[in-house]
Symmetry: C2
Subunit: 106 residues, 2 copies
């Protein structure tokens, strides 16, 4: 089991132009730059898995999961120059972003 003390930051991106393979590739390129943010403990860049039940959200383009050892590390990530540059350079590619920030339930 992952440590319950982890801060789990999960972001889902929807493309402004869903059909554009070029924008899809560009946004992936952008999300990859985030891997270098030093305060991240671990991360995963995902796309929908192809599962399909009523409760499953399948319409997003990318999942960006970042795990942090502490809340402070996540705060540092938010203002890290790499993160700020990512938003500046790639925000025009997405129409919607949904973020779920979770900390251990017990």
């Amino acid at each position: 089991m992952l440590s319950q003390t982890l801060f789990v930051h999960h972001v889902y991106f929807w493309l402004a132009t869903p059909g554009s393979k070029e924008d899809h590739a560009k946004l992936l390129e952008g999300i990859k730059t985030l891997i270098e943010v030093p305060s991240i403990k671990s991360c995963h860049i995902g796309v929908p898995a192809g599962t399909n039940r009523d409760v499953i959200e399948t319409s997003y383009a990318f999942s960006w999961l970042a795990l942090f050892d502490t809340r402070e590390q996540q705060d540092a990530y938010q203002v890290d120059p790499i993160h700020l540059k990512f938003v500046e350079n790639y925000a025009h590619l997405w129409s919607k972003v949904v973020v779920y920030d979770s900390v251990g339930a017990y």
Copy 2:
């Protein structure tokens, strides 16, 4: 970085009775039973972290993050008796469930 080959299964639960501390505790008890499903590689049970920006979804009660080595392990989890029993015994406690299944983007 987490392995890009991981299958990331992230479930968010909303309580049918959001104000009920008893139901909150019961659902946590239920989600904890899922930890024992043998096909899970790693997992995390979360609650909203208290962050608050426009893009952040804060209204859910629990986040259940389960990581699997393969798609087949996730398939096995879906039909594992522990998982089926969880749904049978605890589904009355939630009003909404949203699932995001993601696999490595590259």
